[in-house]
């Protein structure tokens, strides 16, 4: 920002700042404008517009790409909350297209088929902010080094099994707790070992948390799952297939929103968990062959 009051668009502060405004909230996957409206009515703080939720991508297979920009535009027009959309890992042209249609956040996502098996998108030159997935602190800090303004732990999307979301959140938060106890002379070797930029390792130690907002994703299907992730220590949750693949999406969506706000209040959690119908039919992650685990995508 300049002293004479001239404005600066697209600074890292405003990119990371939007994620700060999403905290304590639920970001829901939607595939139609009607679902987007249901999500907004339920109290979602943002929606993720996509053609197929991860559970369907798993079943149908094939190459999963960026959604039709026309369909994303319709969702943008149907709600007043922020709209996110996914680009393939490394596919910076999909990202340019999503920026051009006015998407509020781009998820460079392992749920889509990677376009580049070596490099992620250089996210710094974009005015639109990016969120990226991670399984551990090194991966989180590499993505932030590339310009990500928000991080989500990956979990295993489209399974309805929260076990990987727990594993990844505990890994990242546990590594940060260890880092905080580390003397400064150990930081460079730690940075080398986890493959993370030294400056960000140092900043994370000083802050005692990631330098950007950190949500949980991948396998959250119930209000209790959302509250579990919040109590473990994330800033908010993404719910993908968990809402619109369940029996009765609207009440479940609302219950997950309430559970994310009142995540420490067991009485409220009990009340909102009542009579929600069947959650999505899950897949045990332990039964998934390695080749079908989306979380392993990302370099």
């Amino acid at each position: 920002m300049s002293e004479n009051g001239q404005s600066e668009v697209g600074s890292f502060k405003v990119k990371a700042g939007l994620a700060q405004m999403l905290k304590g909230g639920v970001i829901m996957d939607v595939v139609t404008p009607e679902q987007a409206v249901i999500a907004e009515e339920a109290g979602a703080c943002a929606v993720m517009a996509l053609e197929r939720v991860p559970a369907d991508i798993r079943v149908q297979g094939g190459v999963a790409r960026m959604s039709d920009p026309g369909m994303i535009r319709e969702i943008i027009q149907s709600v007043t909350i922020p709209v996110m959309a996914k680009a393939r890992i490394g596919h910076f042209v999909e990202a340019q297209i999503l920026e051009a249609i006015g998407v509020d956040y781009i998820d460079e996502s392992e749920v889509l088929t990677p376009a580049d098996e070596e490099y992620h998108i250089n996210k710094h030159p974009f005015k639109v902010p990016f969120v990226c997935g991670c399984r551990n602190l090194g991966e989180a800090l590499r993505r932030i080094g590339e310009g990500a303004a928000m991080i989500r732990t990956k979990g295993e999307a489209g399974t309805g099994d929260v076990v990987e979301a727990v594993r990844h959140a505990r890994t990242v938060l546990g590594e940060i707790r260890r880092l905080q106890l580390m003397p400064d002379e150990e930081l460079m070797t730690f940075a080398k070992n986890i493959g993370a930029p030294y400056a960000l390792v140092k900043e994370t130690k000083e802050l005692g948390r990631l330098p950007v907002v950190n949500f949980a994703a991948g396998g959250i299907a119930t209000p209790a799952d959302a509250a579990l992730m919040m109590q473990i220590g994330v800033d908010g949750v993404f719910v993908g297939s968990g809402i619109f693949k369940s029996d009765d999406p609207a009440p479940r969506a609302k219950a997950i929103v309430e559970a994310t706000t009142h995540f420490r209040n067991a009485e409220i959690l009990a009340k909102v968990s009542e009579n929600l119908g069947e959650p999505m039919v899950g897949i045990n992650v332990s039964s998934l062959p390695k080749s079908e685990q989306l979380a392993t995508r990302g370099w």
């Binding site: 002293e3 004479n4 405003v14 700042g17 700060q20 999403l22 007043t80 909350i81």
Partner: protein, 196 residues
């Protein structure tokens, strides 16, 4: 002095951090009974439709209006929208509960989408001498003040004249986010209002 930060959704932790830095006792407010012994309340930035719905669902609307009648209240961004008596209808959510205490008309997302979010320096009329340098304001999918009525007054404008902060008695609204900067002048100013 004890200040509450409405913690239904949004950037409440950032306000808590600034208040802690000023040595103020601050509490996160998730249920109406937690308003009881507070001297002032901050309604943070976040998603105004989400905050409004959760406030209504958990019985906050009347208790918050009663609180505002006596105490200091400050809304940042979404909080400013929530405190307004009126939202320009084209920009309102389909179901958007409003506290409707302050005599202002706001437009949501008035500067455009996230790609149009920006930082700008502001001159704030109510800051005292010595505190008068440009305030580093962060605007994120920010609202604007379209009209300020009754005894509400505009206290900061952008260089193009757009009104972005206002005060009415003990109530303060800012379209931007002082809690995202290292500058605590707005928080100190609000504490003075809460002391009155």
């Amino acid at each position: 002095m004890k200040i509450g930060v409405l913690a239904l959704q949004g950037a409440f932790a950032e306000h808590m951090t600034v208040l802690a830095g000023l040595g103020v006792t601050a509490v996160e407010v998730r249920l109406p009974e937690q308003l009881a012994d507070l001297d002032g309340l901050i309604i943070p930035g976040g998603e105004s439709t989400t905050i409004g719905k959760l406030a209504r669902m958990y019985g906050f609307m009347e208790p918050l209006r009663q609180f505002a009648a006596e105490k200091a209240m400050w809304g940042t961004c979404a909080g400013m929208i929530f405190m307004a008596k009126e939202i320009e209808s084209a920009t309102a959510g389909k179901d958007q509960p409003l506290l409707a205490v302050m005599d202002i008309v706001v437009a949501r997302n008035a500067f455009g989408r996230q790609v149009d979010s920006f930082e700008a320096g502001l001159t704030v009329t109510v800051f005292e001498n010595g505190d008068s340098g440009a305030f580093p304001a962060v605007f994120i999918r920010a609202p604007q003040l379209l009209a300020v009525k009754g005894d509400a007054e505009v206290i900061a404008k952008l260089v193009d004249g757009t009104a972005v902060a206002a005060q009415q008695g003990k109530w303060l609204v800012t379209a931007f986010h002082p809690e995202l900067t290292n500058d605590n002048r707005f928080h100190r100013y609000f504490l003075k209002l809460a002391e009155r």
